[in-house]
Amino acid sequence: MNPSDGDRRAVITGLGTISCAGTDVDAYWDGLLAGGGEPVEVPMPHLNMRAKKMYLVDRAQVPAEPSHHAGAALGTGPRLAVAAAGQALADAGLEPGACGDVPVLLGVEMGNMDVQETRRSAGDPVWTPLAPTAAVVGAAIGSRAAVTSVGNACSATGYALAIALDMIRAGEAAAVLVGGAEGITRVGLGAFNRLGAADPVRCRPFARDRAGTMFGDGSAVVVLEAAGHARRRGAEPYAELAGAAWSCDAYHATAPDPSGDQIVRAMTEALADAGMSGSDIGCVIPHGTGTPLNDVVESRALHRVFGERTRELPLFSLKAMIGHTTGAAGVFACLTATLMLRHRRSPANVPIDQDPECDVWLPQDRAVPLQEPAVMVNTYAFGGNNTSFVVREFTGDAEGAP
């Protein structure tokens, strides 16, 4: 692959996913149209806490392989990632044996934690690297390029996608495999219980009775590729990752800055990076976790960015359907935005009794057509680590190329 010339817009040419909503891309979209998954009791011993449900991949669908990498036992996260990566490469028409120069960028925080916790419960503790997932995927696809793991908690894959975008634009790579994967983590569940941020019922972002978030496991992976490279090999892009921006609240260890100034800046700069305005956006996939303050702050920030149009701008509350997939949340949203653009509509949201303080439009009775062919995604994390990015229809017209 020669990344050094041609159209360096970053297009999405391959998708792969496995989650409670579906174990391939078509099943996932059908699953979202059907209202997503349902939370279940987490199959982990010693779950001594009040809220103990997650949105989980059907355990029978979790791949058994690879069971080990470099001698280390692997949990569900790395195995789900390998499965989703294989789907994405096949979808893009890239053979695993031809991926030697494809970098791997995965957002993974607690990737292998379930191995350690399960063994600890069994009285047979083991140390493993916490984040081997990117290396496991690198080995699975035969990459000889850079393999990087980003660990920015719930915004990890927002950052990973932006890094990949920068790599494509700079000519550093012609195609990058970008994704995220998380499994079950007892300590993560327990910590959110202790912080009063775990909803025992379901994930209910923007609902009047929301009581925190609820985690989900799974993996989503996309192939991000230079448009010129995709064109030369005859690949048909789904969409373009048109712009991305980062910011940091510098405010509190866990709580968002109530002013929302930095998340407004991330959204505004992502639009500017894409050369777009708020009126060009047809839907927003918010970070929307179900934690009380986050949803209010994000709702108000959306008003500052989109103004009066906010009440007519559909939001798709993805976490209500697949749970909060933490490190993988950003790439799940990217994949979902891509499918929305492909199908020209946003699925109906899970019905909620909406909090009036969250004055945003969550269409609940039907799927709505996208009025504009672009979707904004927000991802936020502990420490006020924010990313926003824009996925838009790819026209093939090179005028927008940076």
């Binding site: 779950l47 001594n48 806490m49 009040r50 080990h68 470099a70 001698g71 280390a72 036992a73 993974v108 925080e109 934690m113 350690q116 600890r120 503790p125 083991v126 140390w127 493993t128 690297p129 916490l130 984040a131 081997p132 990117a134 290396a135 690198g138 080995a139 990459s143 000889r144 390029a145 850079a146 393999v147 990087t148 793991s149 980003v150 920015n152 908690a153 990890a156 932006a162 890094i163 920068d166 634009r169 700079a170 550093e172 007892r186 300590v187 993560g188 327990g190 910590a191 219980n193 202790r194 940091c248 609240d249 510098a250 405010y251 260890a253 800046r265 994390a381 502990f382 420490g383 680590n385």
Partner: protein, 343 residues
């Protein structure tokens, strides 16, 4: 602007047995009890209840920012960034939290340390300490994350996401049960209780700027990565590592390697590099549990050495998982020797 490298204007290190950057190349020392004193390293309020690793990082960042002479504060807050590498930083804490859940229930988790169940929280306080609103990014590839942090910072600055970046790595020792050889699922060296074997503690921070704008007081650096599949390490090493290091290697390469298939293959290739190019290779023994501190510590230590003329140095790190990274440094002339030459 994009030059593919960053200038290093400040250095900060906090590690047992290390008094400053000039000691950073010394063999790692075990961490004696009380080696880090919060009231000395972080005078002021609000630090006592932080996990030690978070304190190490804050202390090293203060040293680096101070060493750069206040240049960080001169950068607008939205143009300040941080990239922090972690591996085992939260491992002992996670075990402690999990054992509390198992034995007593989640209600008994300590409120002060529970937020650090999210691994990026260790770097989170850095933003508040230095008013960083550009970005605060955590990277966590096994062993190589510290060098990945350099590459990530270079790329972010080139893309206009920040102008000044703190590049750091922080580790905390594994618990005794985690660092026992019988608890590791992967390759071990025989030196089970050496600091390289999961007992690393401390932090290093480099204050970095674009070379055109900044004061390259210590020199400039860049980094890149590759992947060497552990299952094919012996056969693939030459091609993969030659492409990584390039055909004009630096005069000296410090290589952080364990005795895994990847580390062994890398050591053999470096032997050949010595023979063919005369490169001085310094092997820094590591293990599968080592964490990401030492590679960035070598970078810092090499920058801290004094020379009369610019010298080229390299740091290579290869994990048993297959991640491999290489940092290239151009160390600026500095110190009494350089002044003597000028005179």
């Amino acid at each position: 602007m994009s030059s593919g490298e960053l200038a290093v204007a400040g250095l900060g290190i906090v590690a047992p047995g290390v008094s400053g950057p000039e000691d950073a190349l010394a063999p790692a020392a075990p961490a004696p009890p009380g080696w880090f004193r919060t009231e000395v390293a972080l005078p002021g309020r609000g630090y006592r209840r932080l996990p030690d690793a978070s304190k190490y990082l804050l202390a090293a960042s203060r040293l680096a920012v101070g060493d750069a002479g206040g240049r960080f504060a001169e950068t607008p807050r939205e143009h300040r960034g941080a990239v922090v590498a972690i591996n085992n930083t939260g491992a002992a804490l996670l075990e402690e939290l999990d054992r509390t859940i198992v034995d007593k229930g989640a209600e008994e988790l300590p409120p002060s340390s529970t937020p650090f169940g999210a691994m990026s929280s260790f770097a989170g306080r850095l933003s508040m300490e230095h008013d960083i609103t550009g970005f605060n990014l955590t990277v966590n590839s096994p062993l190589t994350a510290g060098l990945d942090a350099i590459q990530t910072a270079v790329r972010a600055v080139a893309a206009g996401r920040a102008r000044t970046v703190l590049v750091g790595a922080v580790e905390e020792a594994l618990s005794p049960s985690q660092s026992s050889p019988s608890q590791s699922s992967s390759a071990q060296s025989s030196s089970a209780q050496s600091p390289a074997n999961g007992l690393q503690a401390g932090a290093v921070v480099l204050h970095c700027e674009p070379p055109g704008e900044g004061e390259a007081r210590y020199g400039t650096c860049r980094a890149r990565g590759t992947f060497l599949d552990p299952a094919a390490a012996a056969s693939d090493a030459a091609a993969v590592l030659a492409a990584l290091v390039g055909d004009d290697p630096p005069d000296r390469i410090d290589a952080v390697l364990d005795d895994s298939a990847v580390g062994t293959a890398a050591a053999r290739w470096l032997d050949r590099l010595t023979g063919e190019h005369g490169v001085a290779v310094v092997i820094v023994p590591s293990t599968a549990q080592a964490g990401c501190l030492v590679p960035l510590q070598r970078v810092l230590g090499l920058f801290a050495q004094e020379h009369t003329a610019p010298v080229r140095r390299g740091v290579l790190a290869a994990s048993d998982q297959g991640t491999v990274a290489f940092a290239e440094l151009t160390v600026a002339p500095r110190g009494a020797a350089a002044k003597g030459k000028e005179n």
